[in-house]
């Protein structure tokens, strides 16, 4: 009988094991040491591994990323945290013009094995600047990879893959899912299973179905599973595809799923316009045009900044909005 674990605890376990296995790995950021992080994701790591391996930095995100680059040039494997998604904006210059380009600029002489842990997305009634969906911005930048876990087991195994990868990865942790517990195999087993079955850039069908594919990541995966369960009551068999990686994107996985369901709805929290829904929709058109029974639908945040309080419930794709999009794909008739 497998134990259950929260995503927060799963990430903590992964970091603990990474620090133990690789003495070049470093965990740092604002309040990650003594406090254990504002979400307690790094709880106990400084005490166990020492303040040379897990340390607090002053409050300056650009410097956290710039420091990571210098540490990587020195041969370290930095795992910085930026405390909240919105706090990545002050670091964008270092992320885009430096971290993402140093390997290219140096012709491969200076690999950048930096994994940026970034608590991300909305759904926790946070103040302004504490709930943002930056994935399309990161995925657009040459030289960056982007991973988003939706559950504790994936958070554990994806983080280990990100840290082992020689390239910079933005690891976006869906903060609304930190405290949801889920089945979690013994870590060693989980890691072996994931590495054997799901290499970097591979998505997972988390619920098989025949009539329509919901493409999602992060906290939207659980919401899409809810949608699938409700649709099933009406006899609609919904497949849910958890992308897990937004760069590299699993083109083959998306095509395979939509190729057999012949309908697709892409769901994300980020604003609709120029979001990843557009990219994924275009890929589906390029690869599944002859199979499609209906135009690809997108359910996304509106083209507004993340709003406060209860308005957030209207901004983030709801079960009803996703169900309505599913309905549109089923009712579509060629004109």
């Amino acid at each position: 009988m497998a134990e259950t674990l929260s995503m927060q605890a799963a990430i903590n376990t992964a970091l603990d094991e990474i620090l133990t296995a690789d003495d070049r790995a470093l965990v740092f950021g604002e309040d990650v040491g003594t406090l254990g992080g504002v979400f307690r994701v790094t709880d106990g790591l400084a005490a166990k591994h020492g303040s040379d391996r897990v340390f607090d930095t002053p409050l300056a995100e650009s410097a956290i990323i710039g420091m990571s680059i210098g540490l990587a040039i020195h041969g370290f494997r930095p795992i910085p945290e930026i405390q909240f998604d919105g706090f990545a904006y002050p670091a964008m210059n270092q992320l885009i013009t430096q971290l993402a380009r140093m390997t290219y600029r140096s012709r491969g002489a200076l690999p950048m094995p930096v994994t940026l842990r970034l608590p991300s997305f909305g759904g926790i009634r946070a103040p302004e600047h504490h709930g943002e969906s930056l994935e399309a911005i990161f995925a657009h930048v040459p030289g960056l990879k982007v991973a988003v876990p939706s559950n504790p087991s994936d958070a554990y195994s994806l983080l280990k893959q990100c840290v082992a990868d020689p390239d910079p990865v933005i690891f976006m942790e869906p903060k609304s899912r930190y405290w949801h517990k889920a089945e979690f195999g013994q870590p060693a087993e989980a890691a072996a299973r994931i590495e054997a079955e799901l290499p970097i850039g591979v998505s997972r069908v988390v619920r098989p179905g025949r009539h329509v594919t919901l493409v999602a990541w992060g906290a939207m995966v659980a919401r899409c599973i809810q949608v699938a369960e409700l649709a099933a009551e009406d006899g609609v068999d919904v497949e849910v595809l958890d992308l897990r990686w937004l760069k590299p994107l699993d083109v083959a996985g998306i095509s395979a799923s939509v190729g057999h369901t012949r309908r697709a709805v892409v769901v994300h929290e980020a604003p609709l316009s120029a979001g990843l829904g557009a990219e994924i929709s275009a890929l589906i058109t390029e690869n599944c045009f002859d199979s499609l029974r209906a135009p690809v639908q997108r359910v996304a945040g509106f083209d507004v900044a993340y709003p406060a309080g209860p308005l957030e419930d209207h901004y983030i794709p709801s079960v009803d909005r996703i169900l309505a999009a599913v309905q549109r794909t089923l009712e579509y008739r060629r004109g």
Partner: protein, 341 residues
């Protein structure tokens, strides 16, 4: 002078070589051999005095786009260095790890944080190496410089913040750029040591850099060095300084030329015509080698458009590369690269 005669002569030779290469680079730009260049004429002492003080076995320099003299002082492959100005590869074609000289960085102040991070790594490794961040009076306005100084102060990191205050950030003079009197004055706010030095006196620069290196190696933390100098030439080969400063100002700095000043001192200390002639001959040989290397430099292979984005590339990037390289409208040479490479 405390610096011995042999060292002073070495610094002189490096400055003469740098001056000759700098002049030749502008000539090569006018001749169409390189598309652009950022001249450093007037700043030879600041660059040679600091770069020559570094210990290549343990220190690491983080340049901007105007540190050719530092590259000369550190023995960086100069054809590889000029490959950046040649338009072959932005970061240059030299080996940054072997050279202890980071890739050329066009983002103003961007590399200052990397020097701080490298110094953090050196401290965590219990080494005695020091990183040296080059930046200018213009870059001193960027937040990254302040974040780097603060982090270095909090952690007592072995880094030197070396500001070449050359008077002008393109068209903006220092007094419109730097509040509070000087860049070095800011060090006090971060608890760092600081020196304002005559950046046109190579021996003073060399000795100040050595003091800062010694301080950092012995656990004394970071130093801000502000080397007061002057960019005699334009910001770049596309710039026209006549639009923002006077000939009179430029002429007044010509009297403080760093190479002339050291030449007078060396002559007073006994250097003869043969020494100066050999310095010129060496410089001419280096210039000829670099010029020939750049004239003969071929375009990078087309695969390199794609090759270094990632260490472990994404499938879509590989698809883009293979599809483009195998296209019929490319020459057979590239198509065969795609097939066999």
């Amino acid at each position: 002078m405390k610096t011995d005669d042999d060292t002073a002569r070495r610094l002189y030779r490096l400055m003469v070589t740098t001056r000759a290469l700098d002049a030749e680079a502008t000539v090569m730009q006018r001749q169409g051999i390189i598309p652009g260049y950022a001249p450093l004429k007037g700043q030879e002492a600041a660059q040679i005095g600091s770069g020559a003080a570094l210990d290549l076995a343990r220190d690491f320099a983080f340049p901007t786009y105007r540190e050719m003299g530092v590259a000369v002082a550190m023995g960086v492959d100069l054809i590889g260095y000029f490959a950046s100005h040649h338009g072959s590869w932005h970061g240059g074609l030299y080996d940054p790890l072997a050279s202890r000289f980071a890739p050329i960085n066009a983002v103003v102040a961007g590399s200052v944080l990397h020097a701080m991070g490298w110094a953090k790594g050196e401290k965590l490794s219990h080494g005695t190496g020091v990183s040296l961040a080059y930046f200018g009076d213009g870059a001193s306005s960027q937040g990254d410089v302040h974040e780097a100084m603060n982090f270095a102060g909090v952690d007592d990191l072995p880094v030197i913040f070396f500001c070449q205050n050359n008077g002008w950030a393109i068209s903006l003079p220092t007094e419109r750029q730097v509040a509070g009197g000087s860049v070095a004055a800011r060090a006090a706010g971060y608890g760092l040591a600081a020196e304002v030095i005559d950046g046109n006196d190579v021996v003073e620069v060399f000795e100040a850099t050595n003091r800062a290196l010694q301080r950092a190696r012995s656990g004394g933390g970071a130093t801000v060095i502000e080397a007061m100098t002057y960019r005699v030439g334009p910001h770049s080969t596309s710039d026209d300084p006549g639009r923002y400063r006077s000939i009179g100002e430029e002429q007044s700095w010509a009297l403080l030329d760093p190479i002339d000043r050291l030449a007078q001192q060396l002559r007073a200390a006994g250097a003869d015509d043969a020494f100066f002639e050999s310095a010129r001959t060496d410089a001419r040989e280096t210039v000829e080698t670099v010029r020939t290397g750049l004239v003969d430099m071929t375009d990078r292979p087309l695969t390199e458009l794609f090759d270094f984005v990632f260490t472990n590339p994404t499938p879509r990037l590989l698809e883009q590369r293979d599809a483009y390289l195998s296209n019929a409208y490319l020459s057979n040479e590239y198509a065969s690269e795609a097939t066999h490479g």
